[in-house]
């Protein structure tokens, strides 16, 4: 119990950050017309591709002789890039169609 409490007070800023971000996320989506749900889902999909930053970070810290780490890290960066690039491009394609008219 004491450990949990001290964990909370040590990470106070982080917890504020998380709670406020949750509200921002809800606020930003509220009142979106149904028409835009699919592009929005796709756009959000691209944004969670930010996990690639973590993958790059891992690669920058992996030891040269850790072949497993290098291999998995490479794969992680590749998959993250697919998520980011594919996500943004396909969202753009969808939204481009709305623009035409």
């Amino acid at each position: 119990m004491r450990e949990i409490l001290s964990f909370i007070s040590e990470n106070r800023e982080m917890i504020y950050f998380v709670v406020l971000s949750i509200f921002v996320g809800i606020e930003v989506i509220g009142g979106v017309p149904t028409v835009l749900h699919t592009p929005l889902m796709s756009g959000a999909n691209a944004i969670h591709g930010v996990v690639i930053v973590g993958a790059i970070y891992v690669m920058l810290h992996v030891e040269m002789d850790n072949y497993l780490g290098l291999g998995l890290g490479f794969l992680a960066v590749l998959l993250g890039t697919l998520n980011v690039v594919g996500g943004f491009v396909v969202t753009d394609r969808m939204l481009e169609m709305f623009k035409k008219k």
């Binding site: 796709s42 944004i47 591709g49």
Partner: protein, 487 residues
């Protein structure tokens, strides 16, 4: 110095994600919003690579750039080439990749920890008898692994379901209980691993990091079990939910590295995705619980469909052409069947032709028409249908009274009156397009088979309803040709 600039890059990234999402909520600014998000992402990625402090060998940079180049080419080509009808599958696939990326990060970090931290574990425990593992670190690693893996395997199953490879929901006996048990074991193991430092000693007192692979396997299995019993009609909800899972996994990555841009991006998508999931459920008048635990086609549908059956009329293309030509107002109800038949262009042609003859034409868009909310709008926009001709359900329903002809193309469940009249129907309570108030109802279908929810439609037996059988594209092309010969 470099470090401070990197923090600013991450700040810019976080702000652009919020602004981007906000702008995507409005049709006018949506495309720009997506660009803003992409720009922020680029800044965050480039900053991470070039503002790194410390010695890194050229080979590592080579691998990073190689992976990014390869991913960009494949991702770009796939996204550009895919047909718009295949959109939901693609979103599902990209989502799964994000989840896998998060899971891999956790695996590598754990490996790193296992090799560096373990000697300390044994030493400390031997000397003091009390070693406290780094709880925060372990929670972030294991939670990222579990959530990312569930998102990955779940997305793969969703992908297979949407592209038709796996078309029937698979239900193990007592699947709800089995799923719950697997989930409890997974989180139980997670909790135990956090508590114990994630490492066990084998019989000959050798340290072993094997438990993380058990955790990985359990999470992957749970992702599969979670998705396979859910029917195709509910897939959009599942994808949206898995989307927010991946967001959460990314956020745990942010915890791990105290990286603010991963935290903002991940949490934003996590909370926005959850809200979007709830909105989708509302549009179908189903609760999230009933989607996950009580999939369609269970006991209710098996209890036998509606027993009152009249006769079904069909209508010939020439009669239909005459009927439409002399109508004042026609409302088209497009469904996924229209998209499958690639008939969105010919329906636009029909619309233009009728407008030329002075007929008012509108499209009635049900919130869940297509495979995802708004999917139908995207498909029709692709064939140049004007944005203001697409009318949402609540606005079009009062207009059916004054409508001469309703033309339903490839839609079924969204016009099924059972949703209003038959409490035993699995779709009971779902808001529908009230087409039965129009003067004439024409249904274009390939055959008399049931809709996506797998239930019969009483509308077809309505005296005002006529069936116009045939493949949507072929039938509509014939109708357009017939209309052109008139006058």
């Amino acid at each position: 110095m470099k470090h401070n600039i990197l923090e600013i890059c991450y700040l810019i990234g976080s702000v652009t994600f919020i602004m981007g999402l906000k702008m995507m909520g409005n049709a006018k600014t949506a495309r720009k919003g997506n660009m803003v998000g992409a720009l922020g992402m680029t800044i965050a990625i480039l900053g991470t690579i070039f503002l790194h402090e410390g010695e890194v060998s050229g080979m590592i940079y080579g691998l990073i750039f190689g992976a990014i180049a390869l991913g960009t080419i494949i991702g770009w080509m796939t996204a550009k080439k895919v047909q718009m009808t295949k959109m939901p599958e693609l979103v599902s696939m990209f989502n799964g990749m994000g989840g896998a990326c998060a899971a891999l990060i956790s695996l590598i970090e754990f490996n790193h920890y296992y090799h560096s931290e373990f000697p300390k574990v044994v030493l400390n425990a031997a000397i003091t008898g009390a070693y406290h593992p780094p709880y925060g670190f372990l929670i972030a690693v294991f939670a990222g692994l579990v959530i990312g893996s569930i998102s990955f395997s779940g997305s793969v199953i969703a992908f297979l379901k949407l592209n038709g490879t796996m078309d029937k929901p698979i239900r193990l006996p007592a699947y709800n209980i089995v799923n719950l048990v697997v989930l409890i074991i997974t989180f139980g193991l997670l909790a135990f691993m956090v508590y114990s430092g994630g490492i066990i000693l084998t019989n000959d007192l050798q340290p072993s990091g094997i438990m993380i692979y058990a955790l990985l396997a359990l999470a992957l299995i749970y992702g599969i079990l979670f998705t396979i019993p859910i029917g195709g009609a509910d897939m959009p909800v599942v994808i949206s939910l898995l989307n927010s899972f991946t967001g959460l996994a990314a956020a745990f990555g942010g915890f791990l590295y105290d990286n603010k841009v991963m935290l903002t991006g991940g949490i934003l998508v996590g909370s926005a995705g959850t809200l979007l999931t709830v909105i989708m459920c509302k549009a179908m008048n189903r609760s999230l619980g009933s989607v996950i635990f009580g999939a369609f086609g269970g006991s209710t549908a098996a209890a036998g469909g509606p027993d009152v059956k009249g006769s079904i009329k069909d209508i010939q293309v020439s009669d239909l052409a005459v009927l439409m030509n002399y109508s004042k107002k026609v409302v088209i109800v497009p469904g996924y069947g229209l998209a499958v038949a690639q008939a969105q262009h010919v329906i636009h042609e029909l619309e233009l032709l009728l407008e030329e003859r002075g007929v008012e034409v509108k499209y009635a868009i049900h919130p869940v028409a297509g495979r995802m909310p708004g999917h139908m709008n995207v498909l029709l926009a692709e064939s140049n249908v004007s944005y203001d001709k697409l009318v949402e359900m609540d606005d079009i329903n009062p207009e059916f009274e004054q409508t001469d002809v309703v033309l339903i193309v490839g839609a079924n469940d969204v016009v099924n009156p059972a949703a209003k009249t038959d409490p035993s129907s699995p779709i009971y309570g779902m808001p529908i397009l009230e087409v039965d108030r129009a003067k004439n109802i024409i249904v274009n279908k390939r055959s008399m088979s049931a809709g996506y929810a797998g239930i019969d439609n009483l509308l077809f037996y309505d005296p005002k309803c006529s069936m116009f059988f045939g493949d949507a594209k072929k039938a509509l092309t014939e109708l357009v040709a017939e209309l052109k010969t008139m006058e």
